[in-house]
């Protein structure tokens, strides 16, 4: 099970901030595509920065069961 976190606009559009994905190993790219099948409204995933276990990651990086994957929309703190 991979835990997916969504924030800001992504969380609002999905109607939730946390999704559990039943998978042992998946690349960020695969996770995005799986999410878009269930939540086609999450077009913002394309400009979000992925993170695995609180570190920025790349499309081809793999998340394993037990990992937390977050999709970080363009940030606007400060």
């Amino acid at each position: 099970m991979i835990k997916i976190l969504l924030f800001a606009e992504l969380a609002e559009k999905a109607g939730k901030g946390e999704i559990e994905m039943d998978a042992n190993t998946k690349t960020i790219y695969e996770i995005k595509n799986s999410l878009l099948k269930v939540y086609p409204q999450l077009t913002g995933l394309q400009t979000a920065m992925p993170a695995i276990n609180e570190e920025y990651a790349e499309e081809q990086d793999e998340a394993k069961s037990g990992d937390t994957v977050a999709f970080i929309p363009p940030v606007s703190g400060g």
């Binding site: 976190l5 800001a8 979000a48 920065m49 609180e54 970080i72 363009p74 940030v75 606007s76 703190g77």
Partner: protein, 159 residues
Amino acid sequence: MDVSINKHFLITNEAVDIQEVVDKVSDRNAGAINTFIGTVREMTKGKKTLYLKYDAYIPMAEKKLEQIGDEILKDFPEAKVAITHRIGELAISDIAVVIAVSTPHRNDAFTASRYAIERIKEIVPIWKKEHWDDGEKWMGDQLETKSYPSGKPSEEDLS
């Protein structure tokens, strides 16, 4: 006692006390402390903000604030850095962020404080939702000095 008060890199729901952040960087060998305070501005490009809401991926945001502190120490080994960012609902003039940097000499304090606020706007997972009288919107990249056409920090920014 709330242990968070001692964290140099903190995301909080509470009002931010400037003195408290400055105290964290106080040092007998500091001759200069620069603080940058980000506040909620009412008018932006003719549009009137009623209030803001900030959200954050809290553990990662604190980790990234700490990373910014580490980056500053690489350039200025004698610096001390503390950053507190507030989340939740903020009214006009409320403090969103306080950055404090102490260094032996003033040039470095300015440079490092400036660096910190730019980096916050690049890599720290915090989001601002503007509430106007005619609507609301999660804001994207708010950099004033640089733009990311892709909406993503560059490889270098993530190093």
